[in-house]
């Protein structure tokens, strides 16, 4: 039998329907892989029994010819999706022992379509971070070996503090790691400033942040409600398209969820790009940008051109203000959303004498350093006397950022091509300890997309000089994810094939 964990989601789907494998076999193979990869720390909870029960039920439905679109396919779920009766803590200490009595809409769509849950995936605490190092459950190690490290050296580092091993990025670090290390066929993730796309770039996987409103936010632990959006990480654009079709769709429980039919995204893969116009925004050419990032970007444009697209230079003049504006809007919304953690209704409770003491002690013990920092910034920019100078101004700048994109799209541009990240993956413990802003700069190319509510897809496009994956980002018109899948597939086809990291951790 072939290596079941090496199959793509699409191939596994076919093998299940052909009856050449069973969901129980497929699920077992992934549970074994998870067991051997404990050191990577991608999963914070494994739901093995439930997975095997679901797999059996899927096999019965497959045999009866009643298979759903994701029937029998084992997936990982980011820890911020509410899963009924199962560990859901957004990897924060303050949600200690929380097991929701309800299911998120996105995951309920996956189970409706027959998918199997393997467990919950590690992430930065409340999705605040770019390296998975802010998780209460500790950092995740990327399956990619640090340059010049031997497998033995790396394996030994897994048992320690993991310093020097590569981060899988964040906040969806567990999702990206699990997909890249073949611990699940695909995973749910979420993206507020780049949390799907940066980890996908760092691990050589594909990720899409859909248009704001494409997926329901009901049952996702909230970070910044006007920016948060669900999306998948998978190993191919096709697998991402299959996932998104199930995840997306109208939900009466989320009033910001878009009410329009979900297209068959998979049908967009392989469509011709002839006649499409691709914009190259000059403001993304940063001072001091690494030569290899710039070279990869030009190469990506050449691939799209060779496939028949027209490449044009475009301008998005307010780009440089997006990241600073984000660090006002996102913490402001977070400080409001995270006010609910009070030690009374769920999660951690630390006594502090009176009621205010209870709140203050619970929140001091329950939140990690990065979350505390952002809550304090958010509280400050919303406080009396500063609201207009910071928050209202940032929201005005957001209008300008969105207008930049609208102008470019109105001029006939179908999608915009940019680098995904300023560099390849960095090491655990390497960034942000002295200055939090150093870590924030990771999102410089991705955050504009959240500020404007647009869809963004990252596909692997090549390797750095040190042999690590690099990605390119495609930005589309609102609700035109299909064009991104079409273009992403061209990049995937044109780029040199990535070799999967060998399982040095097992």
């Amino acid at each position: 039998m072939t290596n079941l964990t090496a199959l793509t989601l699409a191939d596994a789907r076919k093998a299940l329907r052909d009856k050449s494998i069973t969901s129980v076999e497929l699920t077992r193979a992934h549970l074994d892989a998870i067991e051997k990869a404990k050191g990577l720390n991608a999963f914070v909870a494994v739901t093995a029994e439930r997975a095997l029960r679901s797999a059996q039920a899927s096999d019965a439905r497959l045999a009866a010819g009643e298979a759903g679109p994701l029937e029998g396919l084992p997936l990982g779920i980011k820890d911020l999706y509410a899963t009924q009766g199962v560990h859901t803590q957004a990897c924060s200490h303050i949600l200690d022992k929380f097991k929701p009595a309800y299911e998120s809409t996105v995951t309920s769509h996956l189970w409706r379509d027959g998918a199997v849950m393997l467990g919950k995936l590690n992430m930065d605490e409340f999705a605040m971070g770019s390296s998975n190092e802010t998780s209460y459950y500790g950092p995740v190690a990327s399956p990619w070996l640090p340059p010049n490290w031997t497998p033995e050296h790396a394996k030994a580092a897994l048992t320690g503090d993991k310093k020097g091993l590569l981060t899988p990025g964040g906040s969806s670090g567990g999702s990206a790691c699990a997909v890249a290390a073949r611990l699940c066929l695909a995973a749910t993730a979420s993206d507020t400033g780049g949390s799907i796309r940066q980890p996908a770039a760092f691990t050589g996987t594909v990720g899409i942040k859909p248009t704001y409103g494409r997926c329901s936010r009901y049952g996702m632990v909230a970070f910044a409600s006007s920016l948060d959006q669900a999306g998948p990480i998978a190993r191919t654009t096709r697998d991402c398209a299959i996932m998104l079709r199930s995840m997306a769709g109208r939900d009466p429980k989320d009033s910001t969820c878009y009410d329009a039919p979900v297209p068959d995204y998979e049908a967009a893969i392989g469509r011709s790009v002839k006649g499409m116009t691709i914009g190259i925004p000059r403001e993304y050419r940063l001072d001091g940008m690494a030569g290899e990032i710039e070279a990869l970007w030009s190469e990506g444009a050449q691939w799209l051109k060779a496939a028949g697209a027209k490449i044009v230079d475009v301008s998005l003049p307010h780009t440089r203000h997006a990241l600073p504006a984000y660090y006002i809007v996102a913490p402001a919304e977070a400080s409001s959303n995270l006010a609910r953690y009070d030690g009374v209704r769920y999660g951690l409770r630390e006594d502090g004498g009176d009621i205010v003491g209870l709140y203050e002690q619970t929140r001091a013990k329950g939140f990690g350093a990065e979350v505390r920092r952002r809550l304090m910034i958010g509280t400050y920019v919303l406080s009396a006397g500063y609201y207009d100078a910071y928050y209202v101004r940032a929201q005005k700048i957001r209008t300008l950022i969105k207008r930049d994109f609208e102008t470019v799209f109105a001029a006939g541009v179908d999608a915009i091509l940019t680098p995904a990240t300023p560099s390849a993956a960095f090491g655990i413990g390497e960034k942000g300890s002295a200055d939090p802003v150093e870590m924030y700069l990771n999102d410089v190319f991705t955050v504009t997309v959240n500020m404007a509510g647009l869809p963004g897809l990252v596909a692997p496009a090549g390797l750095s000089a040190t042999g690590l994956p690099l990605g390119l980002q495609l930005i589309g018109r609102p609700f035109d994810e299909e064009t991104l899948f079409t273009l992403g597939a061209v990049i995937e086809q044109s780029a040199p094939k990535l070799k999967a990291p060998a399982p040095w951790w097992a």
């Binding site: 409103g213 009374v344 009176d354 003491g357 209870l358 920092r373 509280t379 209008t399």
Partner: protein, 95 residues
């Protein structure tokens, strides 16, 4: 703009996060680093620009004004650290 230590204490109080006195200088440094990072926004011309309220223009959906949920007190309380007689338990707030 930058914050002084008194402001850091005030923000912590507003955010309902207990902060030890020895953490104040460090927090002040971090908050000021972030404030200096966002400082450049003060120079952007936003004259006549509407602040964003909805990133995707959408009509707020309305539903029938009927009860769709409720009578699930046990579920609501299931995750509470302390409860009594079907209520959340908190320190005494009214003398």
């Amino acid at each position: 703009m930058s914050v002084d230590q008194a402001t850091v204490r005030r923000i912590a109080r507003l955010a309902r996060i207990a902060v030890e006195e020895h953490e104040i200088p460090h927090l002040q440094g971090e908050i000021n680093a972030i404030l200096s990072f966002v400082e450049e926004l003060a120079s952007v011309d936003v004259e006549g620009v509407e602040p964003m309220t909805s990133v995707i223009p959408m009509k707020l959906p309305l539903r029938e004004d009927v009860v769709t949920d409720g009578e699930i007190a046990a579920k609501v309380l299931a995750n509470a650290p302390l409860t009594e007689n079907g209520f959340f338990l908190v320190p005494k707030v009214v003398e």
